[in-house]
Amino acid sequence: MNTWRRLFDRMMGRWIEQEEDLERELRTDLELEAEEQQENGVSAEEAQYAARRAFGNTTLVTQDVREAWGWTWLERLIQDTRFGLRQLGNSPGFTAVAILTLALGIGANTAIFTIVHAVMMKSLPVPNPEQLYSLGNTKLCCDTTDIVPLHDNFALYSFPLYQHVRDNTPEFSELAAFQSWLANLSVRRSGVASIAEPYFGEFVSGNYFSLFQIGAFAGRALTVADDQPNAQPVAVVSYRTWSQRLGSDPSVIGASFTINGQSMTVVGVMPPGFFGDTLRSDPADFWIPLAMEPNLDRDDSFLNQSSEFWLYAVGRLQPGNNPEQVQAKVKTEIQQWLSDQKGNSERTRQLIGTLRLSLTPAGSGVTRLRTTYGDGLYMLTVISALVLLIACANIANLLLVRATAGRLQTALRVALGASRGRLIRQTLTEGILLSFLGGVAGIIVSFIGIRAILLLAFRGAKYVPIDATPSLSVLGFAFVLSLITGIIFSVAPAFIASRAHPGETLRGAGRVTGDNSALPQKILVALQATISLVLLVGAALMTQSLRNLQKQQFGFESQSRLIVRLNPALAGYSFERLPGLYRQLQDRFSRMPGVLSASMALHSPMDGWNWGGDVSITGRPPSPNSADDNVQYDFVGPHYFETIGTRLLSGRPIEERDTPSSGHVVVINDAFSRKFFSHADALGKHLGFNGISHAGDYEIVGIVEDTKYIDPKIPAEPMVFLPLLQTVTYEDSTQKAYQVWGNYIDGVQLHVVGRPENFQTQVHNALAEIDPNLTPIKITNLEEQLNSRLNSQRLIAQLTSLYGVLALVLACVGLYGVASYTVARRTSEIGLRMAIGANSKQVLGMVLRSAMAPIILGLGIGIPVVIAAGHAIASQLYGVKSYDPPILVLAITVLAVSAALAAVIPARRAASIDPMRALRTE
């Protein structure tokens, strides 16, 4: 940048110097001439006059000399630019519309492209990311630990299995494992009088940072030595957390922190920009060695369980190894290890035999973000490209209109001797100037746009590790795009301008009947109408789909429901202390003023999690395929259903009398009842989990309506609600651990009077009263929890609507431009018509008809295109068919009415033409 600036300055400096030099040279010559004349006896005044006469035209001499310098191109460029700016300044309306159009088109594309780039293409900020491979396709698999290893997409590892693979696959220079989700941590700096605060943490193997080849920003990274059973408890913190939440305090390194009740030393701050293995909103704040997991998770520790599959494994492949061979080798290792496990059933052995593993490039992280947003982002890319297309059509149209309207001026210039080349260059300069200004404005729009999209896309996230600044290459791309737009769309007008035949134009200017000459403009308007229709229908379909998603029967009430997410394990509660805590919580919250009903549960609807297991029912043989017996389940306390607003269909809900010592009961949902009991009465029947021997564990006492827990798009699945703390004795240690874990609640639900946000302080005070270590991880409400599940749908719907409206506005602007231009050109014709008897109504009709013709043509072409486009986005829709006649009719009406409004203004202007004055023009 600076170099260019200096070069320019130097050029300008040299030019000015040369100008001054020439002027001085010519002056001295002139003076000498005058002196000589005077010596010949002429008077001083006369001499000067004579000298000047002898010298000739100074300006001409100067110009000829300049020609010799070779500076003319620069001079002409400056002249052209100045002239172009003046021309643009002369029609501020045109200029503003053109720049705005370009800015929106370019800005929308830059914004989308930046986000697509960050989410879909960008590598992790680590050295040699292309060497990283994930053992299994993590992009398709598994947010939850609660699955048996999926034989057709193996991606989760237990710690012993990971050790086995790590020690037997030297093809990886490093093979690290890490928790497949982020854990909630409750962190307090020891010795400082502060309360514990919620953070996100991730358990990682000791070689995690050497895998990524990432060193510490300050202090040191975790090492293999930290990941030993008896190592000193240590952790590292992310740069962002250190700088934003720990005040960039250097004494943090070496300081002791209490994390989930366990004292740990923070030994390092990781470098800025490193957000871990996965691009996600709210990434990990702390990384903790896997060996520390038993100390933090206590009763429900996973680390040494062979059959707990909860880790992702990512390795750095040594250069020169073939990923396919390594994939085959790792698969054999996994199959070998699984077969060596005790107690494999016939079915399990079968599954092990057909196990599938794919070694997946992980250079861009093991991100699931792209699976969530991928389709939507691609759709938006297409949409924004369409908007740019409309913008370009508009610019082309406006420039064409201008070129034709300015024909008189051009003709005059040709007549006065302007060369064709110069005229073309002049028009091109104007186009480039426009696109330059539009490009600059577009970049400003893109900065705002990226922030807006991130805000929409990651609603509720505290922090998204996506750089909201377009990269230099994206900016360059946008800029080149706008310049190309400018050049391409000013070439045609430039040629029209250069072809102008001065004589004819000057003679016949304005005397035009009919408007065939505006054909290119009409085609462009028709094209705009087509694209606008597609975008409008798309927007309407997406909006309708979102509305259906939001307005559907969820099986719970989202209004006035407060969700306090907390985990007693983080406050160091053992399983034995849970009954006391739950009594206290139930008591304290039920008494809180403004609370209608309070309850506790492992999971509330739409909090992003749910559990599943194979159910057994007394008197019913297990299904041949165990997946058919898989149902979802939740542990809930008394008053749960009335608190979240789920209706009871028959029987009774879970109540206070369902204590650990009373008879074990469950409530099922309608889907469960329909699937397993069809028409029979489910009440009084028995069911259980983990094998047929447990089929009699619980008695069904109630049936509730279907409630959507995870995905608002798919129908509710069969579900069982178990009372908190009513436990069953299992033999298997994993099953035991699960049961313990499931009884640690994840949240308290409150049905309150009025807005849930007003209860924040009250909730904090109540918790502090019960136990100061109980920190809420998050206080939210059911509506917000539901909304964050609909993030991507909402983002798409809102952006499509935005772009749809944008397209509509642009199309109307284009139509208005063409219509008013036509009216201006036909002024004398219209005057003549009126003079011989046409009334203003007829004129109005005539102009409207000719303006609306291309719109109607465009809409006609648009209908089949819309139907095709609807099929393409069918998978994105909920509750709307891809072809929806009312929406189509509505979109066509909106477009036609808007277009008519845009055409009415020039049409009325035409109708109010005074024939006498119109005929006198020219």
């Binding site: 010519l26 001295t28 000498l32 001499v61 000829d64 310098w69």
Partner: protein, 121 residues
């Protein structure tokens, strides 16, 4: 008609230009001179037959300077107390002068052999 006239003018200019360059180079061969001196010198030497117009002289001087055949410098002559822009011949200019002179001689010889043929041919 007007078009033809323009063409004629251009041709004459081109012819003059080549000659003017040679004349300027020849003028500054012996001693550096400023624009006014060069013009006067040519006029005086040709006894006012060749009138050098400023409109031709200065563009020619700057063109020669750009080609590197002459160099220019503001200097104060001994008998004056003001600066003039003096042009002097460079080594490249000296070569160019030789080229143009020989070309001119060939041309002049060719023309004269047409105009006053020798008895043998």
């Amino acid at each position: 008609m007007p078009t033809n006239m323009t063409k004629e003018t251009v041709n004459r200019m081109a012819l003059l230009q080549g000659t003017l360059d040679m004349l300027i180079l020849r003028t500054v061969l012996t001693a550096p001179a400023h624009g006014h001196q060069i013009a006067k010198h040519i006029q005086r030497t040709t006894e006012e037959v060749l009138q050098v117009e400023h409109g031709s002289l200065y563009p020619a001087l700057h063109r020669l300077e750009r080609k590197g055949w002459v160099s220019a410098k503001w200097e104060t002559p001994a008998d004056r107390n003001r600066e003039f822009k003096y042009y002097r011949l460079t080594a490249a200019g000296r070569k160019q002068l030789a080229v143009e002179e020989s070309r001119w001689k060939q041309l002049a010889a060719a023309i004269s052999s047409v105009m006053s043929p020798s008895p043998e041919s």
